[in-house]
């Protein structure tokens, strides 16, 4: 029975190759007069191997959107499918299982465990899931993020950029269906940001890693295959891969409204 139900839920999203799909998402905080509508009906699809950026001024609802897509928060109405699974209907245990298999996170503030070394932080998702890291894959990954000589360092001994590289490697290690990156350059200087963005783009190109990135930095958005612009809880514009100037222009236009 459960199997059948999953199959039917899987159908709409899987049809056109989307690994993340949202239909008519709304999110209301609070009640009555003080209620705030953070999302007012957002639908989107992210295809396998795609790097999608969600842009928008502060208060546009972009963070809320990402939290709901990643199963951290629940939509008031509408549904999110990750790899064909309806996220909103999962209980805590099922959500945990979903995160282990399908979702990777990159945070603005890195969120590394201070007492673990770089490598231990990277393999943590696997050890939590009770899996052994594939040695070769791990070596490739650590090489890719450029931390081969920093494996045994603690986060406190690493620069901000290095810490974010560790976090990216941690997100990639389990080869999840989708990586959600929440302002990944928000806490870094511009030179370091460049590095991190290059790395993220690279991971999509090399590993075909589907990625959803929330940002308000036009240069960050410029690495995306597709840029969704959010304002007042609605997707108001969509751009294909663009350069920062075009992105900035759209942003200015939105801010001016």
């Amino acid at each position: 029975m459960a199997q059948t139900a999953t199959e039917t839920q899987r159908a709409p999203a899987a049809a056109d190759g989307a690994v993340v799909a949202a239909t008519d998402l709304t999110r209301r905080y609070g009640q009555g007069d003080t209620a705030v509508d953070a999302l007012r009906g957002v639908s989107l699809q992210v295809r396998r191997g795609e790097l999608a950026a969600v842009m928008g001024p502060s208060g546009s609802g972009k963070s809320t959107l990402m939290h709901i897509l990643a199963g951290l928060d629940r939509a008031t109405s509408g549904e999110v499918y990750v790899d064909g699974t309806a996220v909103g209907r999962l209980n805590d245990t099922e959500l945990t299982r979903l995160r282990r298999k399908h979702i990777g996170f990159v945070f603005q503030f890195f969120n590394l465990l201070p007492m673990l070394t770089a490598e231990e932080n990277i393999v943590l998702p696997l050890s939590i899931a009770g899996r052994k890291p594939d040695k070769q894959w791990l070596a490739t990954l650590i090489g890719k993020v450029g931390l081969a000589d920093r494996r045994t360092h603690r986060p406190a001994e690493l620069s901000g950029g290095q810490q974010q590289r560790v976090a990216i490697a941690r997100a990639l290690v389990s080869q999840p269906t989708v990586v959600f990156a929440d302002e990944p350059t928000g806490n870094l200087d511009s030179a370091t940001s460049e590095d991190i963005l290059r790395l993220m783009r690279d991971s999509v190109d090399t590993f075909g890693q589907t990625t959803v990135m929330v940002t308000h930095d036009p240069r960050a958005a410029a690495i995306a295959d597709r840029i969704l612009f959010l304002a007042d809880g609605l997707i108001v514009r969509e751009l294909p891969r663009s350069d920062p100037a075009d992105v900035l222009a759209v942003m200015n236009e939105l801010n001016a409204r």
Binding site: L72, L113, I128
Partner: protein, 853 residues
Amino acid sequence: MIQVALRGLAGRKLRSALTALAIVLGVAMISGTFILTDTINKGFTTIFTESYKNTSAVITARSTISSSNSGAALTGGFPASVLDQVQRLPDVAAAAGSITDTAKLVRRNGSTFTTHGAPAIAVSYQPHEERFNPLVLVAGSFPTSSSEVAIDKASADKEHYKPGDTIRVIARGPERVFTVSGIVKFGTVSSIGAATIAVFDLQTAQQLFNKVGKFDAVRVATKGNVPESKLAAEIRPLLPPTAQVRTAEAQVKQETKDVGFVGVIQKILLGFGGVALFVGAFVIFNTISITVAQRMRELATLRTIGASRRQVMLSVLGEALIVGALGALTGLFLGFGLAVGLDKLMAAIGIDLPKSATVFATRTVVVSLIVGIAITLLSALRPALRATRVPPIAAVREGADLPPGRLAFLGPPLKAIVAAAGIALLLYGFFVHGISVTQRLVAMGVGALLLFVGVALISAWLVPPLASVLGWPATKIGGSAGSLARANSIRNPGRTASTAAALMIGIALVTAVAALASGIRNTVHDTLRSTFVADYAVTSPDGFTPFAPASEKALAHVPGVIAVSGERVGDGEAFGKTVQVSGVNGDVAKVIHMDWAQGSNTTPAQLGANGAILEKTYAKNRDVGIGDPFTLQTPAGTKLYLVLKGTYVAPKGPPAFGSVIIPQRTFDRVYPQPTNLFEFVNMRGGVSDANTKALKAALTDFPDVKLQTQSQFRSNQAKFINQLLALLYVLLALSVIISLFGIVNTLVLTVFERTRELGMLRAVGMTRRQVRRMIRHESVITALIGAALGIGLGFFIAFLVTQALKKDGIGFAVPTVSVVVFVIAAIVAGLLAAILPARRAARLNVLEALQYE
């Protein structure tokens, strides 16, 4: 995840160490108690076993009543002819008779060794019966003549007696001078405690103790493989009614039963260990709760990368497990040191017991570790469960709060119910009649536990008002730092409450003890003042060990003496129970005030040979009226047919007499070795230097007694209260120390948590000194909240106890001085606890603190 837990601990060494310390002391108390009492028990068992080495069966004098004292001294032995008969039995390989009695050794300063209730053992020695001799020579030789004595090593060491020295010994009657022939020790026993040993040659012993032609014990060894029980059965028909035979094994078991009080001491000490662990549990609970709250983001991150709730819970419990295991292990070994300390502490108030080499039983290891780890895990359970409620989204949100649990709405009523259940159980334990002692103790223990937990839970609500009152001085003394401290202490009332609760428990218990002690002290003082009206009193140096009555006659001959009355003391059986029997002379009412119900101060002089006096209620409950007969049986089996001649009302508080009062003359006739508990003297002119001098002079030949004036005697008799109180304070201090660690822990964590805020305060101009002051005041406010709650609870508990003991005359009294001392102690505790956290807070680098994330 285990790795995360392990690394987490390594990364938080200080707080992990402080958390572990909370459990270390409690476990040390448990382990130390076991080590000490095991060592004592082994000491006793070794003494008893070695006393009957190579022995198959033992013949001893039979006491016809069950008595706490050893039968031998009371019964006067059995005919020596038993030995000849036993020796003729075909299965007997060897048999030897011996004397066991009491003889006090005199120190070089002329007073006797104080044994505090431990026996001053006198034994006989026969050169050709070496196989039965448990004593080992350390120096010199065993006594072979009537002028020689061998003494135990501890006594010899204390007073530097060597073979060849002269020593005075008091057996029966006045002291006698002996030559020390040798120094002995008791087989493999490390220490015989406060007891002393005097060894005489057999004939000398028989003469000294009026036992010529008698023995107190005959040890018998079998030939070949004859079973002990068969031998005992063969001996039994040969014995007179005054003797009994037991197999050596049964005899050891019997004597071991007499030291059951070691088990009681063990239980009491374990009780204090339990209190310490309980306080430790609060500290651990609090520390782990705060840690979980501070690690929210970390835990949430773990959730986002796939950790299940279970894994999060297990990581918190895993940390607790390691802390508990390390703490328990440390505590286990610290127990060795604590055992020594406890022993010293008990010896200081006169409980000095025999000891073997230190016994470290498997049970000690198992119980200490299990208890330590289990308590830690239990305390961590709730924080661990709360940790599972950390939502993954907390990884990306600033200052997310833990969502309330599903059962949170039950919180407030549940807290009240816990406290109410505690009070109900306490009331049940104190006031319900007809329940067993165990039920009563369990009800009181669990009740107190629940009450403490309940109050700790409720006190989160009491913290804001208490802090604003108790923090008022801080705002006056500490200026803006003080005001901030007060505000800080209210910021997280739950945290302040459970930190204060740990201290509350210790303070509540010492307050209850102090209040009870002052109630008891009042009663005892009143009784002593109204009862003991003699000018002078003579007791043994410790005040309660019975002594030979010879000095009584000497006192009577001192010029100026108006009345002398010694009070004999012994065991007897009356109305089917073993009771204390007092033997008094006609002057007794002149020296001890008797509140006559029927009779007068002349009644004691008119008792004749078979008159008796009973306490009024005692007589009434047993349906004996004036002129009615009743029987009293002595340990030796003599039956006295007594007639009730008078009744008196005993005061509340310590009784002056045993249950049955008989004439001294009659007492001396039926008790072979009469002893006095007190001797009282009235002098012409009352207490004066001249009178004191005259009495002292008369007592020079009696080093086993101490002359005291009326007021000295009264204060000596009440001294035990202060000693007991001191012992309880020391044992409870452990709990207070543990709660100190709790305050340190909370403050360290708080400073850590407020790093950015402290940086801001420094940035806007707060000096390092002010930062330190702020932390100090917060610490003192927390400690004062603990003290306020504790003193209140302590009074409540003491009030319940005094209500329950009302009929025993113990009233409720507020120990003002003690309370003031406790409050000062709490302030000092707060100041001490703040030292480390305040230093850490003041050391913060302003810039780093501001950027701290």
